[in-house]
Amino acid sequence: MMPLRKFSIHQPSTVAEASQMLAQYGEKGRLYAGGTELLLAMKHDLLRYEHLVDVKTIPDLNRIELKNGALMIGGSATHRAIERSAIVKQSLPVLAEMETKVANIRVRACGTLGGNLCFAEPHSDPATLLTALGAKAHVQGKAGVRAIAMDKLITGAYETSLAGDELLVGVEIPVLAKNQRAAYLKFQLKERPTLGLALFLELDGDNIKKASAVVGSVSVSPTQSEQANRLLTGTRAQVEKQIGDAAEALANAADPVDDTEGGADYKRHLIGVFLRRAFVKALA
C-alpha cells in the first residue's frame, strides 16, 4: 500500500479557530473535510502538508436548512446528506437529483460540498448546477465574512478566490419560483463527468424571459455565454429554432479541451445534444 507522509490533525471547534490555524500553518497546512480529493493527491505526493485542519469537528457546519426562500447548505454537508435531505428533495429536487449522480457511493458518503467546490477540480457537477442557479458561497476568514457569487468562486483549474485563511462556511441557493425551471444533465464514461450541463429558465406565460445555460467539465471551469443565454429567450418555437446557435455560442465560450474524459470536438458535439435535452427536460 502507498503510505501517506506523516502529518498531524487539528480539531478546531469554531470557524474562527480553524481560520486562525490556517493562518498559523500557512503553506504547511490545509483544511481537511472528507479527504476524497486531498488524501489522493497527498498519496501521490502531488501535495504535501504537515498539518491538516479537520473542518468536521466544527459543529453545525454540515447543516441543511431553508431560510427566506433559499437553501443554506453547510460547507461540510456530504453529497449523501444533500442527496437524501427531505428539505432538498422537496424545495430543490434538481439539486438532490444531481447529487445522486456525483461520483460513487463511498465518495458521496464522505465527500463534502465544500471540498468539491474548494478543490475546484474541473469535473465538478455541483459547481455547474450552482452557477446556473445563481448560488452564493459564504466564506469566513481573518478579514470577516463575505459572500462570493458562484461564478467568481472558481477562478481556474484547482483555483478559487478564497484567501489562505478563509473557509467556505456554506452555500446559499435560491429555490425556484413558480415561473422558474431548472434541469441538470451529465454525460460520463469513466469516474469523472465528460460534460455537465445546467439550464435555468424563467417563464412569463409561454415566453422564456430569462435563461442561463452553464456547461461544466468540458474545460477548466463552468462557463456560460451571454449570447447563448440571449438566444435561449423568446417563445418556445423561437428558442427551438435558435438552440443550435445557442449551443455553438456556448461551445465557443467554453472552448472545450482534450482530456482523458473525451476529445474537444466530441465535447462540442455533446454540448449541442445536451442543451436540447436539458431544454426539453426543464420544460417537461
Partner: protein, 159 residues
C-alpha cells in the same frame, strides 16, 4: 494517537499515526486481510468497509475517522455458528466471483444497499454498485446474487 472503536461487534483500542489509513490498520495491525486494496484512489471499491453503516473506501479513509464509530468488515458477516451471511451464500450460489479480489468490497457494498433498501430493483442495484469494479464476472452474476440475497434475507426475517 489512540483510537477506540467497535469492530465487527467487539470493542477495540488501537495505537496508530494520524496518517494511517483504515486499510493499513485493518490489514497490517489487526491482521484482518479480508479487506482488499487495489486502486488506492477511491475508484474500484475493493476496500469497501462500513462505518456506522455507511460504505467508505478504507484505502484512503483515515483510521482517525473511525474513532468512536461502529465498523463492519467482511470478517464480521458470518454468524456465531459459522454460517455464512445470506449475501456471502448468494455470491457462492450465483458464481458471482472468479478471482475473488473484488468480492469482499462487493459484498460490503451490497450489505449497505440491502440494509437500507431490502427489496431493490435491478436499476437500484446497478446504481448503488456502480463504484465497485470487477474485472472477471461481467457483473451479471453479481446483480443476480444481490437479488437472490434480498430474497433470502426476506425469508429469514419471516421465520
Amino acid at each position: 494517537m489512540n483510537l477506540q472503536f467497535t469492530l465487527n461487534g467487539k470493542p477495540w483500542s488501537v495505537d496508530c499515526e494520524p496518517a494511517d489509513t483504515l486499510a493499513e490498520v485493518l490489514r497490517n495491525q489487526l491482521n484482518l486481510n479480508g479487506t482488499k486494496v487495489s486502486c488506492e484512489v477511491q475508484v474500484c471499491g475493493a476496500c469497501t468497509v462500513l462505518v456506522d453503516n455507511l460504505p467508505v473506501s478504507a484505502c484512503t479513509y483515515l483510521a482517525y475517522e473511525a474513532r468512536g464509530k461502529n465498523l463492519l468488515t467482511v470478517e464480521g458477516l458470518e454468524k456465531a455458528d459459522g454460517t455464512l451471511h445470506p449475501i456471502q451464500q448468494a455470491f457462492i450460489d450465483d458464481f458471482a466471483f472468479q478471482c475473488g479480489y473484488c468480492t469482499p468490497g462487493m459484498i460490503m457494498a451490497a450489505k449497505s444497499l440491502l440494509d437500507e433498501n431490502p427489496n431493490p430493483s435491478r436499476e437500484e442495484i446497478i446504481h448503488h454498485m456502480d463504484g465497485n469494479i470487477c474485472r472477471c464476472t461481467g457483473y451479471v452474476p453479481i446483480v443476480a446474487a444481490i437479488q437472490r440475497a434480498a430474497g433470502m434475507i426476506a425469508k429469514e426475517k419471516k421465520q
